[in-house]
Symmetry: C2
Subunit: 915 residues, 2 copies
């Protein structure tokens, strides 16, 4: 026979599946001997059976009777008793918190009879009638499905009749009359009287909580939060206690230590003669716990003892809800408390120092997201300011600088020492130089995954994107902020100072004071430099970060590499702890003024002309690689061959067509443009993302990959001769079939052998591939035959698995998808484990089956995303590669992954990932 009902004395906190989170913690506190109002919990299993069958399991009623009798015996009162009634609350409590999604009914047990008993027992008739009024209203709405507006209207009418505005101005007589009206509403709306049998009230309330599991909004919430539909909710029946029975009563919330600093001590709010909702609503000004100590030293003393017990027991900061009823303290709820990012680090290390937890535990309690927040400067919270407008918080930080509208100005002004913020409608690869020179980027179009946002996050620059309240006019060189209705529009000009907050999306005219980040300074310059001149709390924070980061490094299995395209980036990444380069995008070496070199290759009309153009590229490419290998000496350095479609190196087709048409109309010469247009037309693709790029370029454009491989091999030779330890690897992009890789390898291996022979040196240059197409993952067991390593290109893999382009997704439907709950987070930010992740798991498993020593990494944006890093750890990758700025986050999360999930390399090789 199933046990559907557990009294609070029977459960414990490990039983969340069966008792829900709230029920399990109430049982735990009861088990610790803390003063919890007696009660019992109906299991999630009862709920599941009720929902499946459409009626409660027969045994449930019997078990509730038993538990209720025990409860009545314990407190010495009977539910709904005429003289001294026991009242109970009926609250939902699922395994996962679903705030506001499900139902609660308080004061169950009040009837036309027992309300008098309550008035008598409490000595407060108004209190009794108000309690009854609340029961009828809550029960009517929640259990009986009556429109809440009807009750609200009756309440308003009562106040209007008496010409008052506050509920508190209604006295016992008013409320008694109002209860009469409420009871009439119930009768009219349902055709039945309000149930006067207290047990009947209780049962109906329980079933209403069960039913609330399946409301539309609850289902929608679960879909969004990926909470399984078949869990069901538990129901907690708890003796009502009242903090509003006079000055010896009260209610409050408190934390076992300061959630901002972590310092031990009393931290909380107390409100005498009040109920819980009064504290939360902020209607009355709360008192401190010090005040409570003066007002009610006995209760306060007991609360302090209980706080210590809870923190020792939960080994963490707890938050607590409590009520004092006529001098007696009752615990209503506890859970591990939320805290700020800085407090998380401090508290974790404090608890280690207090011998309450281990360093592993401490690492588990901080997060990469918190560390990332701590790495950015922030606007001084103490300074008042009004934002001009607000966009998407695309890349955190606080940037203050002069407005510039193009790369050239940005570079020029930055060179003379100005701090500049680049303001554009949207950015494209041509703006890279300007972004490098700026301290922040503001765009009026695009969102969190737009070019501006992605690149800014990669560089660690502050960015606010898609601020559609501003109009950018790059010709007039103005930014116009539309005022609120009626307000005057504000116009800012080039050179005006602007402040952008990448953590909130706020944009301010003028300079807002900024507080620099001590954590960023520590990460870049080390502990000793960072703590100089810092205040105590900041020192404590930096020391805590240092300790946890070092511990993460000591336990993590995943290596952390950087995505870096220049020696400068590489050096910075190395100082932040990168253990190699996972992705060097050679196309980034041909931006700016070098673009014309690729243009020559593309426009070459004869093989000889193309070969000439390629030959001119060789020394430049070689020098780039030499510098990169020097910066990364001794560490693996993965260089990806050219990936983007060639037309990206040519002018925009539509603009060129317009230029030709205008010249034609004006009778001006335009032969060059016509020739250029012919080339652009030849290379034009309706979906360039799905066109001639990556390995396809290498197979179709003679000599292109050969040039790059030769440059890389010659650079390695140069470094060897200079006494260096180059560990370069060549990566082939966009492979979908092993045949492509075989063909490229045949060419590459030949060149490497030739260069090595000419130099008389041994060259070992592993050749691997990106896995960034579903087909590459699906045929990984074949591709591994020809690849010495795989690097998952999760950006492209996300695009093709979902069939949407990152460039287009934002503008079109991304906002709607977030809004409707199709996404909870952009799949470009955090890996879509169910879809894209499944392909990654498959490729890992089957790639390693073919080649057990296959090296596996990831170089998409996800390599720096905390949640995704845990996934990559779990599937057994060897390394993640991310933008230099994300490296500390990745180090921390890789360590956390080991602590939380164990060292699992190769574990999935045993799993059947498709069953």
């Amino acid at each position: 026979m199933d046990q559907y009902v557990y009294t609070f004395t029977e459960g414990d906190r490990t039983m969340g599946d069966l008792l829900g989170g709230k029920g399990a913690n109430l049982a735990e506190m009861t088990r610790l001997g803390l003063p919890v109002p007696p009660g019992f919990t109906i299991t999630t299993e009862a709920c599941r059976e009720y929902l499946a069958a459409g009626e409660p399991p027969g045994e449930l009623r019997v078990q509730v009777t038993g538990a209720l009798r025990t409860l009545e015996d314990t407190v010495g009162r009977r539910l709904g008793d005429a003289d001294e009634p026991l009242l109970v609350s009926v609250r939902s409590g699922a395994k996962f918190s679903m705030p506001g999604m499900m139902e609660t009914v308080l004061n169950v047990g009040l009837t036309d009879v027992s309300v008098h008993g309550l008035a008598l027992a409490s000595g407060d008739a108004r209190f009794a009638w108000d309690s009854y009024r609340r029961l009828v209203q809550m029960f009517g709405k929640t259990v009986l499905g009556i429109d809440g507006e009807v009750f609200a209207a009756a309440l308003d009418a009562a106040k209007a009749a008496k010409d008052v505005t506050s509920d508190l101005d209604l006295d016992a007589t008013d409320l008694e009359r109002l209860v009469g009206e409420f009871l009439a509403i119930v009768r009219t709306s349902t055709g039945h009287d309000f149930p006067q049998d207290p047990r009947d009230q209780l049962d109906q309330a329980i079933y209403a909580v069960f039913d609330s599991w399946n409301t539309d909004r609850a289902r929608l919430y679960r879909r969004r939060e990926r909470i399984p539909n078949d869990l069901g909710t538990a129901v907690n029946i708890c003796t009502m206690v009242f903090g509003n029975l006079g000055e010896s009563s009260g209610t409050g919330v408190c934390f076992t230590r300061d959630p901002a600093t972590g310092h031990l001590g009393v931290y909380g709010d107390y409100l005498p003669n009040a109920q819980g909702e009064d504290v939360v609503s902020g209607v009355r000004n709360t008192l401190s716990l010090e005040d409570m100590a003066r007002l009610d030293p006995a209760s306060h003393g007991e609360l302090r003892r209980i706080m210590r017990t809870l923190e020792t027991h939960y080994r963490d900061l707890c938050d607590i809800e409590f009520t004092v009823e006529r001098g007696r303290l009752w615990m209503l709820q506890t859970r591990v408390g939320k805290r700020t990012a800085a407090a998380a680090f401090r508290i974790a290390v404090q608890l280690v120092d207090e011998q309450l937890i281990t360093l592993d535990d401490a690492l588990a309690r901080v997060s990469g997201a918190q560390l990332a927040l701590l790495m950015f400067p922030q606007f001084d919270a103490g300074v008042e300011r009004a934002p001009l407008t607000r966009g998407m918080a695309a890349s955190p930080g606080a940037a203050v600088g002069r407005i510039v509208f193009d790369s050239a100005t940005a570079t020029e002004w930055a060179a003379r020492g100005e701090q500049v913020v680049l303001v554009r409608r949207e950015t494209n690869p041509d703006d890279l130089e300007g972004m490098v020179a700026s301290i922040g980027v503001l765009t009026s179009r695009g969102g969190k995954t737009s070019h501006a946002a992605v690149v800014a996050r990669g560089m660690g620059k502050t960015a606010v994107c898609g601020a559609d309240g501003i109009e950018v006019d790059p010709v007039a060189r103005t930014v116009r902020a539309r005022g609120a209705s009626g307000a005057q529009a504000v116009v800012l000009r080039e050179g005006d100072v602007i402040s952008i907050d990448g953590s909130t999306g706020e944009v301010f005219a003028g300079a807002v004071p900024v507080v620099p980040s001590p954590v960023a300074r520590y990460l870049e310059e080390g502990l000793v430099v960072a703590v100089q001149g810092l205040a105590g709390e900041a020192v404590e924070l930096v020391v805590a970060v240092d300790r946890l980061l070092r511990h993460a490094d000591s336990v993590r299995r995943l290596s952390v590499r950087a995505n870096a395209d220049t020696a400068e980036d590489a050096a910075r990444a190395r100082s932040l702890g990168a253990q190699g380069i996972g992705l060097c995008r050679t196309e980034h070496m041909f931006l700016g003024e070098r673009r014309v070199l690729i243009e020559r290759v593309v426009l070459a009309e004869t093989p000889a002309a193309r070969e000439g153009a390629l030959a001119d590229l060789l020394p430049l490419q070689r020098q780039d690689v030499i510098e990169l290998l020097e910066a990364m000496d001794g560490l693996p350095t993965t260089i990806r061959l050219l990936d983007p479609p060639l037309h990206e190196f040519l002018p925009d087709r539509a603009e060129l067509m317009v230029r030709v048409a205008r010249a034609e109309e004006r009778g001006e010469p335009h032969d060059d443009d016509i020739a250029l247009l012919a080339a652009v037309d030849r290379l034009h693709e309706s979906n360039p993302m799905l066109g001639l790029r990556g390995v396809r370029l290498g197979l179709v454009v003679p000599g292109l990959f050969a040039l790059q491989v030769r440059a890389i091999a010659e650079a390695a030779v140069e470094r060897l001769r200079a006494g260096g330890r180059p560990k370069v690897e060549i990566m082939v992009p966009l492979v979908g079939s092993v045949m492509e890789l075989y063909l490229i390898r045949d060419e590459c291996d030949g060149i490497i052998t030739e260069v090595a022979a000419a130099a008389g040196l041994d060259l070992t240059i592993p050749i691997g591939t990106m896995v960034e197409l579903p087909r590459a993952a699906l045929t990984a067991f074949r591709i591994a035959e020809a690849a010495e390593f795989f690097s998952f290109g999760t950006n492209d893999l996300t695009q093709t698995t979902w069939g949407f382009s990152r460039d287009d997704v934002e503008a079109g439907f991304f906002a709607a998808y977030l809004d409707k709950g199709v996404f909870t987070v952009s799949p470009f930010e955090s890996l879509d484990v169910d879809g894209v992740g499944r392909l990654v798991r498959l490729a890992v498993k089957e790639g390693r089956r073919t080649r057990p020593d296959l090296k596996l990494g990831v170089c998409g944006e996800h390599g720096g995303d905390p949640e995704s890093i845990h996934f990559f750890h779990s599937v057994g990758l060897d390394y993640v590669s991310c933008s230099p700025f994300r490296i500390p986050v990745a180090r921390l999360e890789a360590g956390r992954a080991t602590v939380l999930r164990g060292d699992v390399r190769g574990a999935t090789a045993e799993d059947d990932v498709f069953d």
Copy 2:
């Protein structure tokens, strides 16, 4: 101990894995008691061990010695004997035919000594020296790796010295001298003498054949043909017999029945006093087998008996190679013979009538590809003609008509009864109307998967694409065919007659006589109509097609539906045997003049304007559906909601920009165009294939899907009221997450319920989804919760799995990929089983696990492709849907799939498709 050597008396035709195809058939003929020159086969296993170890298995030499001694005893001669030498051929023979890929050495056993014995025994000194010359040359090149040019040069020098041009003019003395030179070449090139030990020759030849398995070209060939690399080849050692030992000798090839008509009787070529290569090379005119009967009645009689034995034994038409050596007949090879498409049908049914095979067997022996060829008219083979140029054979058939350059002209001329051929550089959806009006399409750009090709195949229209030898000038309205070098260019004008052959890609000026297809007539109008006025052979063909197609219908498990967008298409599909519509693309209902209606929706500036535009669409959409359901009454009709990006209904962005610029330059008014351009800009996407389309449109554009669902539901009501049996199904495109489908279903179900309630009728309209994104397949177990059916959209699934767009793939790299062997066939023509197919299998298995009665079909182009149909049968789909014209092919192949693979529905549910 492994058996590495099998004499021909030991094997049989089931042992192809071990003995290769040739060896197994030689053994089979030996087993049947036919006169096969004695010999033995070395197994593929010996080859594998040799290749793995780099040296022959020790036991191999011993076993070869045993087999050789048995052979010598059998024929009574010794290998390389001085007086009467046994000579052998050493030939490769893998399991799968790899024509020309591997090596052969003839005349092994000739030495400086035995050549004299052969001269004496044959009484023909020239023959002996020529045989030795051939051995040294073949062995030198194949076994010793000497450049073949060196021998060829020496041979040429010998002829030049004697001032003759033919090898035949060299006499015994000349050839003896030449052998001396060849032996010197061997000595110089290798530093060793040509091996004079016959056994040494034999062993080296065997290892050379083994080695030939791993040459670059053999590996490349296997990669392309997907033949595993680890099979290895067998080696056949066979007693040499000579057909060139005088008039009582000869050689020939023959078929057991006429491979063109299937008629029983003698069919072959014979050449007295000749060797096999003389027949093949066509140097001498061959005789018929009737001639052979006169010249050598005994051998001819025996050959007839053997042919009958082989056909009875193989139960099929066989082709045979034979040699007569001095009046004695020897069988050198046999295999099942190739035949024309028409003969395949006739022969299959003849064999059934002769009780040699069952109808199931007969069905297995014809193919959909053959049926497709028979459905097209063809140019009269008897008429001589010279093509103007040649393009890709994009859609078969023979079309003769007047040249038109645009849709309007095509429609106009066709309306007055002209046959027209649409000639364009390339086609786009605007040309659809013109393609419908034309009997053929010719383009100068694009290839087999270009828009023109795909649409033409879908319509069953003849098409030649990518004929880059012509220049199309739609303004001057001319086609210019560049002449061969020096030749005059030919210019054709609108209205000139042109003939295009879609089976060969040839293009002719003027009218070439066409022979109509009796099979097409049969399929469209039935057997009785089709046979009227036909000749005997054509009647026999039509009857054979009818019998096999009806048998296919009786055995197949897969239903066959049509992709059809109009009532007209639907009716045609039904007459061709369609059992429903698997895909009706509603966007095709809004082309041509209705395009403006969608434009109004897109350009609507207020919700009210948009709702008005949608309301205007409703009656049109409803009427379309009513007509479709009427044509398909009683059969399932799947209607897909709007799929393409909305900007497809607007003008081209670049062209519009040019128009605006030109108007600006001219000072002409262009406000309307500026407004239009703003809308186009708003909807512009850099990769529209990966943008706002399909279900995304439905979730973002309010009312759009609702309009379509309402039209469909109301149409069903109308048909029910008219006494019809509408079986309509709604299909949601481009779903990647079950959440999208839940949201759309919520809306659709509500509308259907509302329409049904208003009509007072029961409406059952299943709602399903396309599975056309990798993520849909990867999460099929979830999506099946919300879908009553899946239809695999294998076109888009191929695009996203491979990451290339069908529109762009051709122009960019497709030709190179076919050339390099990355593809053997376009993955848009025949399903990529390893990549895309794996996703299909997964979705079938996991979708059915969630919903056992999930209906599964395919509606991509692959639904009409023979090879793909077998795959869809194997994975357990319920139906395939293809263009109307492909329906007979699909019916036939679905039947063949059952015969060849058994009825396997749900079999894969047991498989682990990822292990």
